[in-house]
């Protein structure tokens, strides 16, 4: 620890602390321009000058990079300091009159107009080098640097050409204190509504607002560290030292008695229906995006706004997007009608907008649901029965200009209508999760025609599968809402517990067995067994059946060329005897 005196106040700080940091601890503010706490000090702007006296010698030094020494006396506002600082700011103001931080400092110092000639009134760059240093130290790309000398100095990529080293991370623009660096999207991609609200995806984010648990994760594809090996600013700023870039996906083997699959769903990708314009039309958003938007902790603080930032005057809600559709999924996603009604209610509550709800059939299947529908009818939501064929921004009439036009056949009126709205919410359906098929293979369970996991029996065993000890809960089995999922999950848990609680376990009596003397070791049965009950004994060179896994389906029996595989209670001899008995009678 060293003791320093700053403006007459004494403080003890750790060795290696800079004067600026020590002053901050004393609540003494020293202006800075080229300093950034996450980047190594550069000492170029010379605005943070202070006067120090060490062993009787008084010097002006920069506080951002110079470390405190024991017994050092620092003056942050001596006449000498103020004169130099003021002149520096004045010179910077002449250089970069449009730089906001310089303007602010100049105002504080009472500088109206610099005494030096202004070259470019729109200049913002103060040559603080934060962009160059960020690109080198933080990003590790080294795509930009200074060129030229003296007053001609400027920041440039090599030869002033777009640099191959640039990874497009925009860190330079983020670190620029004056907004002198701007960037544009060169790939002609249009900013869509969702991106505008949610921001370009940052490398560290939470999956959704109100996610449980609310834990951020690092997206490797967006993280600079995984591109250049540098950055790690998150590590620096995290006081809890919770960030770890070395973490890797790992496989953990756990021995369990039973497994409950609750792998959920993925929302239907609305881009698959080009006629609806999602991803192209800024104000066409999906249900999940609307949920983000309307959330109180969301990007707009819960306000329902258009991409332009205005409140919509009319909103259309389109049901059955990707559901009940021969082209995509034939099944009903079950939850969309009710959440759409909720959306209509929320929009009514928060805005003055007219709401159009385009449905095929209104499926209000649960307790209190039908009543909610009636309430919305009373609230004035306009329900139009019919499938939306197209959403477009091509206006035909004057009223349609600047609006989204929903084309729909109103089946109740028997006419095709064009309805102009400001915002369209697509009630996207539910689909099995991304790795659904892989999961089915891993757990040796079947999928029904709609590609969701197949239960053993729709009524008698709705949470069980054909594999013993594996149970289903939630949307992996079929689309369902939260109450249903909770109920089913309770059932699955009870089944799993019942299995675990048993001291003994009764097996199916009808299983296959292999006659050791007859088995030729051809292994045909091993590949055929749907329950992976057969293994090959390499020592004896015969196939062996695990009684606990065998379901007695008889596939191996039928396939065995040597007749070694036999079904208990249904041996050839027994069946022949039965046939003989029948014939005798």
């Amino acid at each position: 620890m060293v003791t320093v005196t700053i403006d007459g106040k004494k403080i003890q700080v750790e060795e290696g602390t800079t004067i600026l940091q020590a002053a901050k601890k004393l609540d003494i503010s020293i202006p800075t321009l080229c300093y950034h706490p996450l980047i190594e000090p550069y000492a170029a702007c010379r605005v943070c000058l202070v006067e120090v006296s060490v062993r009787g010698r008084k010097d002006l030094i920069t506080s951002c990079n110079n470390k405190v020494q024991d017994g050092m006396e620092v003056e942050t506002a001596s006449p000498r300091v103020l004169r130099s600082r003021r002149l520096n700011v004045e010179m910077l103001l002449a250089r970069a009159p449009a730089a906001e931080p310089v303007q602010r400092l100049a105002r504080e110092m009472g500088i109206d107009k610099p005494r030096f000639p202004i070259k470019d009134p729109n200049e913002k760059c103060i040559l603080c080098g934060l962009c160059v240093r960020a690109c080198e130290q933080v990003v590790g790309a080294c795509a930009i640097s200074f060129i030229d000398r003296g007053t001609e100095r400027k920041v440039m990529p090599p030869f002033g050409e777009p640099s191959e080293a640039c990874i497009g991370c925009t860190a330079c623009a983020h670190f620029c204190p004056t907004g002198a660096i701007t960037y544009e999207d060169k790939y002609g991609r249009q900013v869509i509504h969702s991106e505008l609200y949610l921001g370009p995806s940052t490398a560290i984010r939470v999956p959704i607002r109100q996610a449980v648990p609310m834990v951020p994760f690092i997206d490797e594809s967006a993280c600079i560290h995984f591109k250049t090996g540098k950055c790690q600013l998150c590590v620096k700023v995290c006081d809890r030292q919770a960030v770890n870039h070395e973490m890797k996906e790992e496989e953990v083997e756990v021995e369990v008695g039973s497994i409950i699959l609750a792998t959920g769903f993925k929302p239907f990708d609305a881009r698959r229906i080009p006629a609806y314009g999602y991803g192209r039309l800024p104000n066409v958003i999906t249900a999940l995006e609307f949920e983000h938007l309307v959330n109180a902790s969301g990007p707009t603080g819960g306000k329902i706004l258009l991409a332009s930032g205005e409140e919509p005057k009319s909103v259309g809600i389109v049901h059955c997007v990707g559901s009940r559709d021969e082209n995509y999924n034939e099944y009903c996603s079950r939850v969309c009608c009710m959440y759409s009604l909720k959306f209509a209610h929320l929009i009514k509550e928060k805005t003055e907008a007219d709401i159009y709800d385009f449905y095929i059939d209104m499926r209000c299947f649960g307790k209190g649901y039908e009543e909610f529908y009636h309430r919305l009818l009373e609230e004035g939501t306009k329900f139009i029965r019919g499938r939306v064929s197209e959403i477009t921004d091509l206006a035909v009439t004057k009223e349609e200009e600047g609006k989204l036009i929903i084309r729909v056949e109103d089946t109740l009126l028997g006419v095709v209508r064009r309805i102009p709205v400001d915002m369209v919410i697509l009630a996207t359906g539910l689909e099995p999760s991304v790795d659904h098929n892989q999961l089915a293979k891993t757990f040796n369970i079947s999928c029904s025609q709609d590609t969701f996991f197949l239960e053993r029996h729709p009524k008698l065993a709705p949470v069980s599968t054909f594999s013993d000890g594996i149970f289903l809960a939630g949307c992996c089995q079929a689309p369902r809402d939260i109450p249903d999922t909770v109920a089913q999950a309770g059932g699955a848990a009870a089944e799993a517990l019942a299995l675990a609680d048993k001291a003994s376990f009764s097996l199916e009596p009808v299983t296959a067995e292999i006659d050791e003397n007859l088995c030729s070791g051809c292994q045909i049965c091993v590949g055929l067994c749907p329950f992976t009950a057969i293994t090959f004994d390499r020592e004896k060179e015969i196939s062996v059946i695990n009684d606990a896994l065998c379901k007695g389906c008889g596939t191996c029996v039928a396939a065995c060329p040597s007749g070694a595989a036999q079904q208990k209670h249904f041996r050839d001899r027994q069946i022949m005897a039965e046939i003989e008995g029948l014939l005798l009678v």
Binding site: P41, Y42, A43, A44, C45, R46, V47, L49, L60, T62, N65, N66, K67, R80, R83, S84, L87, N88, M91, L92, A94, R95, R115, F116, P117, L127, G129, S145, F146, D148, R149, G150, T151, E152, R153
Partner: protein, 608 residues
Amino acid sequence: MAEAKEKLYRTHLMVCAGTGCVSNHAFEIKEALEKEIKRQGLENEVKVVTTGCNGFCERGPLLVVQPGNIFYQTLSVKDVPLLVEEHLLKGRPVKKFMYQPPEEKTPVPVLSEINFFKKQVLVALRNRGLIDPEKIEDYIARDGYKALVKALTQMTPEEIIQEITVSGLRGRGGAGFPTGLKWQLVRNSPSPNGEKYLVCNGDEGDPGAFMDRSILEADPHSVIEGMLIGAKAIGATQGFIYVRNEYPLAVKRIYIALDRARSLGLLGHDILGTGFDFDIRVVRGAGAFVCGEETALLASIEGRLGEPRPRPPYPAEKGLWGKPTCINNVETWANVPVIIDRGGKWFASIGTPTSKGTKVFSLVGKINNTGLVEVPMGITLREIIYDIGGGIPGGKKFKAVQTGGPSGGCIPAEKIDLPIDYESLTEAGSMMGSGGMVVMDEDTCMVDVARYFLSFTQDESCGKCTPCREGTKAMLDILTRITEGKGTEEDLVLLEELAQTVKEASLCGLGKTAPNPVLTTLRYFRDEYITHIRDKKCPAHVCRQLNVYTIDPQICLEKGHGCDVCRRNCASEAITGAKGESHKIDQAKCIKCGVCFDVCNFGAVRVE
């Protein structure tokens, strides 16, 4: 060493092949000499040797005949036959080619008796004019590498540092940091993997300074030997010589010297069988003045942008690639072998209590004997300017001397008896710098001098820190205004404020010293500034925008008979008058270019 068995000659002709003499056809003279010697059948008796810079550049091309130390000057190719016949064949030194002091009647034949050389004490330049810089044998014959042998075989690193500390040697690059202390710091600095570096700063950029260039051209081995001794002292295994690419001859001779040293086992692995490894790489500078600043130089060697960084950490702690690095200037390294050879005490016996040894200066400007001089510390300016430099040409009055290049200041005539050392020069507002010495006479405008040096620093400022980048530009703008007669008294106040801030607030030495020419001229020649501002006049008639050119009709007609030369040369057609008549200048049209004044052979054009 095959060349050791070289033939012996009775006479050696030492032709100066420093850059100054080379541009005055020294090589042609050498060829002519060889041809003439052959013609006279003396080729087995006389040998022509090209040496490094002799120092007396004013009188080039130079030739010294050894033995005898006979000094010939301002030679040309057509003088060669006479010289060879008279001196070499008939043994009669040729008086007409000898140096003739202006105030004396008889020429001085012997080099060591010429005033220019008499007062010089040669330490760093000990081999000047005596060896062929491209022959390591010549250097070795002059006790070269003797100090290295001593350092490697008889001395511990601590003893070497002790010897340097005792000598009181201080950095010759300008700031004068004690070399022994610097070496000790580098030696004591821990290096993560044991690597330490050694750098020779040969990025000499001051206008009018050529000390380092001359040493590298004339005696590259002295620098290499110095670096080898330094390497042993601090424990470095790799050295760098950073030299300006604008010094092609120096670069070439360094490469030759390094090759020769390597081939003799004086560089590389297991030097002289002592198990000591050290090698030197040459890095050529791209011409930025700021790269003479040590941190910028190191950045440049690393391949990064040549801009300075804040110190601390000093290079002694964190230099090249973060390793402890010892960086010294060319002249400092050249002093090291002598100190080790003859002892620190001997070196310390030369000079003043705080500044020991000698210093090389390049004497330029309004002085009779332009050239390179090495003088003991503590010598007065008067001795340098009048005794060695031979005074001011044309009997003009001495006005000031600028030391330390653009970073230094102007010392006025009243301080001519100032003994030169680091402290006294700093006291006077100037600095030792690397050793440039520009002499100015009464025809020099001090405002213009300040403007000139500032235009140099402003142009060479890297632009990293605000005060240096913006401040030097603002100061230059003001000075330009003043020299154009547009200055105001407020400008002078602002100029002083700027100079003070740039000096105090800049990041590196370049900015911290850039205002020195302004501050010293303001201190010693303030009245000149005032005259420029108030009376809109330049007393020395240098600032042309302030001059009023008129033609004296009488002289024009009587002496020049209206020769019309001025009218024909006037770019702005401001002069009227036909041939045979007296001419007149239309002040409204005159752009004050001064051409008429320059072309008038009769002194009819007057400047006020």
